[in-house]
Subunit: 257 residues, 2 copies
DNA sequence: ATCAAACGTCCCATCATGTGGGACAGCGTC
DNA sequence: GACGCTGTCCCACATGATGGGACGTTTGAT
């Protein structure tokens, strides 16, 4: 099939990248040239380009190339997210099967909540408004509140005092009020949000903490407001907290942020 | 400085790759286009190209792209080697300071020993012949023998029955002889090689095993034959074994091969 | 100390090929 | 049934990737 649509420079540059990465040590231009059988000038340019993009690092003094920062960062992010999702998946499944409501998994990026996974009950007619990949403000979602409450004080303040957009008429846009809520959340271990992000929808959110207590992600159960009776809320919150705790302990100890 | 020598297609393709990896989920063509602000056709080609190179994976059914096998493999290899070297470094340092001879670290690739690190004593005039990145046959080095002896039987046989090149007049080129030596090595915990790889140079090699007992690497002390008295050999072998054991336990439990 | 081989950088003319607008078909949606 | 959105495909154009070769510097050998 799509053997057209292949961009030659990209393929060749990736070969160079791969060669460097496979060695696990600093390599020289000529060595790479010999190994790959490409023209010297070409390889030279690719090494420069890859270095400029920080996929490689150019040790100017010794004229050697090695794997760079950007590559490692990307690998780390990928690993963390993949691991998180794998560990969270069975717990999310259980929650969905128990409560028959949508369960979300999200991380915090630039004061926004980014959904990285989502499980929906088959039978319900009402579908979730968010999709995997969507973003919502941190301050208007239970996910965001749950994470915010467990952030170091400086980060928390930064978030609360950022731009607090009004999503619905119920959205809290006062920094002080948000910070007071955060205290409650920390005490209770979960956050609640009722129609603050979207009319008629309520969410219960819990943080997923790494070993050091940092909120690397959050999980929420989201349901139509009228379906969520107060006593059910408590039960669901407890279930979420339990699930989050199990996910935390199952996370690779070296989840990095 | 080198802002020339930048190959545009490569830069742009890497942006696409980065975007996909950062999401930690399956992305669509259009979404990527919107995010990066590049022409649709261009992004399309890059996604195809990256997929063809297995840096991405193209879920044809759902027309989504996600991080691919090759990317993860490279990340893993890089992590493992970097980790190995970091953990091994202080132990190698100690060995060099104790014996004032060259200490090597190597892994096995395609029946060849690849040096991934090397520490030399400052004062000695005689320099090691190998360099980081160089390759030697597995069967003519103590490093190779040390690893071979702890390989699963099938792999071991494969190595012993491959091409056994004659490096010096002492090099063993008989498969049976090599396999018998392997038994000794496994019993003693270290391998010795005297002038089999290079005239006048002897090496003592020990394997570095992961939790499952697989030899992920080997470490050797290499010295001029005449400097290595028999009783010193025993002392050095013990020191090497101890160092290797400590490296093994310090290796991240998830060293993968 | 001397010289040769090897290495990284740079230049430049050539033309392959990357480019992106636009068209098209398939699909889900209102 | 029509619209809008998606991914795929086509094509003419000129950008810019290309690679041979030259140059200055370093490395290593004698």
């Amino acid at each position: 099939m799509g053997d057209d649509y292949i961009v030659q420079p990209v393929i060749k540059a990736l070969q160079v990248l791969e060669y460097v990465a496979r060695q696990g040590r600093d390599v020289t231009l000529t060595e790479t040239v010999h190994e790959l059988g490409l023209p010297k000038t070409t390889v030279f340019r690719y090494l420069q380009t890859l270095s400029a993009a920080n996929y490689l690092e150019h040790d100017v003094g010794r004229d050697r190339y090695r794997v760079g920062r950007k590559f490692r960062d990307m690998a780390r992010v990928d690993q963390d997210l993949t691991g998180l999702r794998q560990v969270a998946q069975p717990e999310m499944r259980k929650l969905v099967d128990t409560f028959h409501e949508t369960v979300n998994l999200a991380v915090l990026t630039d004061s926004q909540v980014v959904y990285i996974d989502m499980l929906e009950p088959d039978a319900r007619a009402l579908k979730a408004s968010a999709r995997v990949g969507y973003r919502h403000p941190a301050h208007s979602t239970s996910l965001g509140k749950a994470m915010m409450a467990f952030l170091p004080d400086a980060d928390q303040r930064l978030l609360a005092e950022g731009m607090l957009s009004q999503m619905t008429f119920r959205t809290l846009t006062d920094a002080g009020q948000l910070r007071r809520q955060a205290d409650d959340v920390r005490r209770r271990g979960y956050a609640i949000e009722i129609g603050e992000n979207e009319d008629g929808v309520m969410c219960i959110g819990v943080p997923i903490l790494d070993r050091s207590g940092y909120p690397v992600a959050a999980m929420s159960l989201s349901a139509p407001e009228r379906r969520m009776k107060p006593e059910l809320t408590t039960v669901a919150a407890d279930a979420l907290k339990g699930a989050a705790r199990r996910i935390s302990t199952n996370l690779r100890s070296n989840f990095s942020r």
